[in-house]
């Protein structure tokens, strides 16, 4: 027992160090006063101050947040519909194609998704003049398309474990099918929808490759801005930005975890 546990334990320690040392080092260096990101020049918070004076970053961040909110909301609506269709509607014509289309984006390399959508937008523009320019709308459409697949998978697995007799009971008590969806099904899968929304939001904020394909001149999302800067190497203001994002996300995720654990403990 002891021997193998020690091996497993050391791999665990190594693995978590591997996962977290890079993040920790970014945070440490974000307080580095030196402009050369790799040389320690004393403690300073000046890069954080600079961050909030940089209008390009703020614009990009704002655009990213707008896209993420919109696409996550759309993806949650469509993804929930898709999940419902797959689990609760029984068979319908074209079902195989539909379930193929809903799961394929999960494993599709980003470069292909991005390229194919750009080609679609270009062709549409030629044919019907829409979209006149690429930016917010096209990125939102692209993000909705691939993140609705994730929402559908989450909703589907929630629905699959859900007791169907609840819906049958409602029907037995005289509820019409559409009412059942709103009175019973949706409230019960709400946690899955929230999880799906959060995931879609994160995926959208995270995406660089697809956005690079389908955005037009003048519209840069935050990842695109960061990428254009880090191409040239490590820079202190990106360190500060990265640290901020790491901290915010960590706090949110830990808060969610604690709430979930507490509510689990109380039931």
């Amino acid at each position: 027992m002891k021997k193998q546990s020690r091996f497993v334990f050391s791999v665990l320690v190594f693995g978590y160090a591997f996962l977290y040392i890079p993040l920790a080092s970014v945070i440490v260096y974000s307080f580095n006063d030196s402009k050369l990101a790799t040389v320690w020049g004393g403690f300073s918070t000046r890069w954080y101050v600079e961050l909030f004076k940089n209008e390009q970053i703020l614009d990009a961040a704002f655009l990213s947040l707008r896209i993420a909110t919109t696409s996550a909301t759309l993806a949650t609506i469509f993804g929930t519909m898709a999940g419902l269709i797959l689990v609760r509607f029984g068979r319908f014509r074209g079902q195989t194609l539909f379930s193929g289309m809903i799961t394929a984006p999960l494993v599709m390399p980003e470069v292909i998704t991005g390229l194919s959508l750009l080609l679609l937008f270009v062709s549409l523009q030629q044919l019907i003049g829409w979209p006149a320019q690429r930016g917010f709308t096209t990125i939102t459409i692209a993000h909705t398309t691939f993140s609705m697949a994730y929402v559908a998978v989450i909703v589907r697995s929630r629905l699959a474990t859900m007791d169907e007799s609840l819906e049958e009971a409602a029907m037995d008590l005289g509820c019409r099918p559409l009412r059942i969806v709103f009175d019973i099904t949706l409230p019960l899968i709400a946690p899955a929808m929230i999880a799906g929304w959060l995931l879609a939001f994160t995926l959208s904020l995270d995406d660089l490759v697809i956005a690079s394909f389908v955005s037009g001149p003048g519209s840069s999302t935050l990842p695109m801005y960061i990428f254009s800067k880090v191409k040239l190497g490590v820079t202190p203001d990106i360190n500060a930005l990265a640290s901020l994002i790491i901290l915010i996300i960590s706090i949110l995720v830990f808060a969610a975890w604690f709430t979930a654990r507490r509510s689990q403990a109380s039931t």
């Binding site: 693995g15 898709a82 292909i112 194919s116 169907e164 990106i238």
Partner: protein, 297 residues
């Protein structure tokens, strides 16, 4: 199936139609277009490819792009190299991820949920920033080199940035959670009595692992490996930021073909080829997941 009784209801048709149409227009149709453009000739125009139908209404297609991809040695090397890089990252993830998933699955419930959280947490933090974090570590004057020189292990920085090594690190780092999570799911589900039973019947710990734990974890291993291999094949950011300028991987070639050379038809052909390479693992993955879903229900 409570909701399927009145299949013909209008609201149900609408519920089916909306996501169906969306996926059709924004997912399936684009693939048709990629396929179409991959069969066109590049021209200097906007958009930079020949139309599908020529002026006389005849079909204007060419397989020149694919012939070029198959005959040009550079592309063959790129494909092989991409497969090699993705496979190596997959093996590294498995080697690191299996013991980790095993340790997490065997931890007590409270620790387990914390450990899992720490596996998932990096996933929520921007992927780009996580790759960027390694730039600061691997640099010639980055944290690792500085540390090694300070300790006195080396007196000159080791070149780690812009090498294949850096790409392996980046790929392993990014895709490790994709390996651990499915592995954890199968290991956690496993009946621990089985390992005890094997030992009771005369198998040592090591033999019991290879006789029982490993074969039973196979669905997780397969899913994890594919979840690492598939996205690693098309990876663009990691080779671009961490790899050298001459590390040509498919994702990067496609990107450059499109944005730098503006050869849309060739980029489309590269995409189709990538897809063809990935079709086998993707189908394999979906099969194994369907089987898994069946087994657990």
């Amino acid at each position: 199936m409570a909701l399927k009784k009145r299949q013909g209801a209008l609201w149900q048709r609408i519920t089916i139609a909306v996501p169906y149409l969306w996926l059709f227009v924004f997912f399936l149709l684009p693939f048709g277009i990629i396929l179409k453009i991959s069969l066109a000739d590049p021209v200097i125009a906007q958009p930079p490819f020949t139309p599908f139908f020529d002026a006389d209404g005849g079909l204007s297609i060419t397989i020149d792009n694919f012939l070029f991809l198959l005959t040009d040695k550079l592309y063959a090397v790129t494909y092989i190299k991409s497969i090699f890089m993705a496979a190596t990252a997959m093996v590294l993830c498995l080697a690191l991820g299996f013991p980790m998933a095993y340790g997490i699955a065997r931890a007590n419930p409270t620790t387990r949920s914390l450990l899992l959280l720490l596996i998932v947490l990096p996933f929520w933090i921007s992927f780009l920033l996580r790759v960027y974090a390694w730039m600061g570590l691997l640099n010639n004057y980055g944290v690792i080199n500085n540390f090694l020189m300070w300790v006195g292990f080396i007196d000159q920085p080791i070149q780690m940035m812009y090498t294949d090594f850096a790409i392996f690190i980046g790929l392993t780092y990014t895709y490790l959670p994709f390996m651990i999570l499915p592995l954890y799911a199968t290991l956690e589900r496993m009946d621990l009595d089985l390992v005890d039973a094997a030992q009771d019947l005369g198998a040592s710990r090591t033999i019991a692992f290879w006789d029982i734990t490993w074969p039973l974890a196979r669905p997780g291993v397969i899913a994890g490996c594919l979840l690492v291999f598939i996205p690693a094949m098309g990876e663009y950011v990691i080779p671009y930021l961490l790899g050298g300028p001459d590390t040509l991987l498919i994702g990067r070639v496609l990107f450059d073909e499109f944005f730098v050379n503006r050869d849309w038809p060739l980029a489309s052909s590269v995409a189709i080829m990538l897809l063809l390479i990935l079709v086998v693992p993707i189908v394999f993955l979906q099969r194994s997941q369907a089987r898994d879903a069946e087994a657990t229900s």
